[in-house]
């Protein structure tokens, strides 16, 4: 969304990056080592491992 400070993607470069990591756990240590805030998600395939159902649920905002 755009506000008086411009779209969010323009502000991303000016601000601080805080990361949620979903997938390879190795990326977490690299970010920590550089002083970047990061939360790792204990991820498992959703929707019983059915990618199509997972995509549908994501579209529905579930």
């Amino acid at each position: 969304m755009t506000d008086q400070n411009g779209p969010q993607y323009q502000r991303l470069l000016a601000g601080k990056v805080e990361v949620v990591n979903v997938g390879l756990e190795g990326f977490v240590k690299d970010l920590h080592d550089c002083g970047i805030g990061v939360v790792h998600v204990d991820w498992k395939p959703s929707a019983g491992g059915d990618p199509q159902m997972a995509a549908l649920l994501a579209k529905l905002g579930v």
């Binding site: 470069l13 990056v17 805080e18 649920l57």
Partner: protein
């Protein structure tokens, strides 16, 4: 020979792909094992295992099942390996892991706990990556999608959603980005400075950013856009947003855009947008012939050339003279051929540009426009430049930047090939990459014969990287490998040696 295939399916058991690849290698090394794989049972992984004859007929697997598959020459060997794999999986977690902080199970839960989160780094299997990216965008997060194997339709839909929400959607298949000093995925530790990078190519971005950083300048941010962003179907959505972002970034004076040649319509749109920018640009469309760019931009067909333009014309590795180095190389096997075995796809593309410009006949599995596509067993007279990160080598296997052994078989064969004078190699350092690729390489080539081809390498990395570039270079040089300051200069040296082979 009769082979035995055993499968074990663990329902609802998830491990990330790097952990699974590590275990797969351990199991594959067990006595009597021909092939082994530990994979999540996603549709694409199941297809890979079926094609490799590793999944038994009738085995029903789902995306949240972990599949252990072992092919061995005897039943006891297969059973022992399978039991070993199961034991490894059931090993209790170390004290450190067990006492680790609480971990949310979803992006939504993570954002609730830490509302400052503004970016999701997604590297789950491709079959599920689009769904996770959509959840992140729905939560107002920028996304870097490292995962590949995502459809063009999903990419377009995610990028349109992101643009509408004012969010950056980097990827899919985005190997690297550096935002405000945060190394995202495979990235190097770089000096901060005034040069921004927009990259549709991971190793291209790494090579340019490292050359700039090692030359004493710095990088403000490197935005990855994914390898397909400049294709007609996507229309450069993220690239155009990245130009907007750099336009309003006071920390950036100059921007380097790196990509394989875009679709002509997309190139026109992007170049027009560059012409409207307040910043100066270097446009590096690797493999494109010299093209007209706006007045505030310069064009380079190579990564080294792009880095030099970004540095205001300062030459990279000026002290390195390929002709002089070639004349000092003691052994010059007479074959005359060059074989490039690359971990970096864009480094392979840059090699094609340089070898063809030098008049060499080239073939590649990742051919740039004008280069012949590699066909096994054909074109014996041509130099072969192989991208080992291409799907045919990495389907179900780690990328050679993570696991350099992906290159081993091809390198062993090349060392014995009398038609070759030179083998060209790249080592890519940084976060996410192998801890010591030089050690792996030097061990492999230690017992090469006197008449083996000359080994020439380039090392993509910085002194600040965890592997320390100079330490890797020293290790290679002690093993008799010639190291050039850049991939482009490694290629120039290869040409200089091959053109005078046997003399």
């Amino acid at each position: 020979m009769k082979v035995v295939v055993l499968n074990e399916i663990r329902k609802g058991f998830y491990l990330d792909s790097v952990a699974l690849m590590r275990l797969s290698r351990e199991v594959a090394a067990c006595p009597g094992v021909i092939e082994a794989a530990l994979m999540m049972g996603t549709p694409s992984n199941a297809a890979i295992m079926r094609n490799a004859g590793l999944l038994n007929e009738g085995a029903a697997v789902k995306g949240n099942d972990l599949v252990i598959a072992v092919k061995a020459d005897t039943e006891p060997a297969a059973r022992d390996a399978l039991d070993g794999a199961i034991k490894s999986l059931e090993k209790p977690k170390s004290q450190g892991e067990a006492s680790a902080a609480w971990r949310p199970h979803s992006i939504s839960a993570a954002v609730k706990v830490r509302p400052e989160i503004n970016l999701a780094l997604i590297s789950v299997p491709g079959d599920f990556a689009a769904a996770e990216a959509r959840k992140a965008l729905n939560r107002g997060l920028h996304v870097l999608m490292f995962s590949d194997n995502v459809s063009l339709e999903d990419e377009l839909s995610l990028k349109l959603q992101a643009r509408d929400a004012g969010l950056l959607m980097m990827g899919p298949d985005c190997g690297t980005a550096v935002i405000g000093g945060a190394p995202l995925a495979f990235a190097n530790r770089l000096r901060r400075g005034k040069i921004g990078i927009i990259g549709a190519s991971g190793t291209g971005t790494q090579e340019v950013s490292c050359l700039v950083s090692e030359a004493g300048e710095g990088i403000s941010h490197a935005i990855g856009v994914g390898g397909r962003d400049l294709k007609k179907d996507i229309g450069g959505i993220t690239t155009l947003m990245a130009i907007d972002a750099f336009d309003s970034d006071p920390e950036t004076d100059h921007v380097v855009l790196i990509s394989k040649p875009p679709h002509p319509d997309v190139a026109t749109t992007v170049l027009k947008r560059i012409g409207q920018s307040r910043k100066s640009f270097t446009v590096c469309f690797i493999g494109a012939s010299d093209m007209t760019v706006p007045a505030n931009a310069r064009f380079s067909p190579t990564l080294k050339g792009a880095a030099e333009l970004a540095l205001g014309g300062k030459p990279i590795g000026a002290e390195f003279d390929p002709g002089a180095v070639a004349s000092r190389v003691a052994r010059r096997p007479a074959g005359g051929g060059i074989e490039g075995l690359f971990a970096g796809g864009t480094l392979c593309a840059e090699a094609q540009v340089i070898l063809t410009a030098a008049g060499r006949e080239v073939t590649s599995n990742a051919a740039i426009p004008g280069v012949k596509t590699l066909c096994a067993g054909r074109d014996p007279g041509r130099d072969r430049l192989i991208d080992l990160g291409d799907d045919e080598y990495t389907r179900g296997r780690p990328h050679p930047m993570i696991d350099p052994s992906v290159r081993d078989d091809a390198l062993r064969a090349a060392l014995r090939n009398p038609a070759l004078s030179v083998i060209l190699l790249d080592l890519v350092l940084g976060y996410g990459a192998h801890a010591d690729p030089a050690e792996h390489l030097t061990r492999l080539v230690a017992d090469r014969g006197q008449d083996a081809p000359v080994l020439i390498a380039s090392v993509v990395g910085t002194e600040q990287d965890p592997q320390v570039r100079s330490a890797q270079v020293r290790k290679l040089e002690l093993a008799g490998i010639v190291v050039a300051p850049s991939n482009a200069q490694a290629c120039e040296l290869a040409v200089a040696i091959a053109n005078t082979a046997g003399r």
